[in-house]
Amino acid sequence: MTDLASQTQKTGLRAWLMTDTPTSRRQARLAAIYHGWLTFRGNPLAMVGLGILLFLVFVAAFAPVLAPHDPLAQDLAGRLQPLGSPGHILGTDSLGRDILSRLIYGSRITLYIVTLVALIAPIAGLLVGTVAGYIGGFIDTVLMRITDIFLAFPRLVLALAFVAALGAGIDNAILAISLTAWPPYARIARAETLTIRGSDYISAVRLQGAGPFRIITRHIWPLCISSLIVRVTLDMAGVILAAAGLGFLGLGAQPPSPEWGAMISEGRKFILDFWWVAAMPGLAIFTVSLAFNLLGDGLRDVLDPKSGSS
């Protein structure tokens, strides 16, 4: 009764989105997204996280316009300038390169790593986990033991081994991180699949003659993906740190590339006298990691099918 009254007050697009009686496929989907957005918007910290990440994307996209200097241009005369020096707000590093410009260009590398890992690891995990969970039996045992083997290694050590075998470099670092990141996703996807598999709506679609491929891709994936997305955003901080760690050890991005982890590594030698050289990229890593965690928390409220819409 009350919701009818308030609905008539709303006009135009909002009313169209808030309706309980959508009239087309498109409206139904958009309305569902809009409802999710309303839930998400109700969480101020998640909005802060989203804001920071949008800012990161903006900075990466317009890096050439925003950066005051060339990130690779050296100026040995003006090396290790402190914070707030003229022309170099965040100072310069040991080769006189502008730290702010390097951070701005470094955001591109960070986004590149995050995007690729976020695509490779969960999708690999989703495939392995849902197939193992739905088909079960021997295939389940084999796939899950492989997953266990990967899980048993400390992540950074395994990544180190991969990079050592494949050669140092940003792409190999991404590959190594992805290879170490997928097993937890496979576990989550399998656990979700096991509960979904026995549900009546899966039985119902089996009674329409649907095969395993269709059931996994059309019916199980949409329900697993939401919890994976949440997990990915919460893991992203770890991924950024792993990438930074590899960079720090000299196994990730190679100099003179302005990768944030590599920048810390370079600043390490001067950390006592010229702390900002390492602290500024550290602060950037911290901020972005925190933003991902906040976003993940907010997404959990929106996407969790158990607590959600009903």
Partner: protein, 285 residues
């Protein structure tokens, strides 16, 4: 009649995105040493009423009332600590599914003993004796064995008897039973109901029996409140339920298929918006 519970203009409100939602909209009733049935469909506010009396509505939900008294003591004004004493000692509640009400990792006996000692401060030995006595009262033949068992080892009917034993061990004056037999098979249902019936009579307790099953309420209770959309639309003596006047109650009764009277089609309930708007009928006597 001696009044155990006295409730006037009770409201339960939940904030939603579309504004406030009133699950219970200003109902009044009282309870003596009797078996009072509350019937209605899902969403009628009957379960919320039971929870509101025990102040079990979690924020952001709100409970408001002009009067919510247990033997003259105001329940709404009590602190959470005082309320904990009231729950169990004065008013107990049995829910639909015992599986969710019993602690799965604690033995049945420990749970009953803990509750009894919390409320009475009795010694362990006394509490043990009391628990055995209580299990016997709910027709459990081998109480020692049941005391040592974990909840998952019990069937649904046994679980519900244990719940009743646990809820009555502190000898409360009022029992609120929220669909206590809906999860049980019909034959077990009868056993559990007869146990509740016997204990309530013997101890002179007041019972609020919340159910969706009109026939059951008509045969089990003394007096019935019929709820619709958060309000009481009709009250009557339970044995008069089949002569109820309100079109909603009539509609519910007629929509039931009957073993003794075959009909080609069941009567579908036509809902009248006026039912929602009409003021609540008082259930106070």
């Amino acid at each position: 009649m001696e009044k155990l519970l006295d409730i006037e203009n009770l409201r339960v409100t939940f904030p939603t995105r579309q504004g406030e939602f009133e699950a219970v909209r200003g109902i009044s009733f009282n309870l003596g040493r009797e078996r009072l049935g509350i019937v209605g469909e899902s969403g009628s506010g009957k379960s919320m009423t039971g929870r509101a009396i025990l102040r079990l509505i979690r924020p952001p939900g709100r409970v408001e009332a002009d009067r919510l008294e247990m033997e003259g003591r105001d329940l709404l004004g009590m602190s959470e600590r005082e309320m904990q004493r009231v729950r169990g000692e004065q008013i107990s509640m049995v829910m639909q599914d015992p599986k969710f009400s019993l602690n799965p990792v604690m033995r049945v006996g420990e749970q009953i003993i803990e509750i009894y000692r919390f409320h009475t401060g009795a010694s362990k030995r006394d509490a043990y004796a009391k628990a055995i006595e209580m299990l016997q009262a709910v027709s459990i033949n081998d109480p020692e064995r049941v005391m040592r068992a974990y909840p998952h080892e019990m069937s649904g009917g046994m679980g519900q008897r244990i719940m009743i034993a646990m809820m009555l061990v502190t000898e409360p004056k009022v029992l609120i039973a929220d669909e206590p037999t809906s999860a049980l098979d019909v034959s077990v249902q009868t056993q559990v109901l007869s146990i509740i019936d016997r204990l309530v009579r013997q101890r002179g307790m007041g019972l609020i029996f919340i159910s969706h099953d009109l026939n059951l309420v008509a045969s089990f209770c003394d007096r019935v409140l019929i709820m619709y959309a958060g309000r009481i639309v009709e009250t009557c003596a339970a044995d008069q339920l089949h002569q109820a006047r309100h079109p909603y109650t009539r509609g519910l009764l007629n929509s039931l298929p009957r073993l003794d009277a075959p009909q080609p089609r069941l009567e579908a309930l036509k809902r009248d918006p006026a039912w929602t708007l009409a003021p609540s009928v008082s259930g106070r006597i």
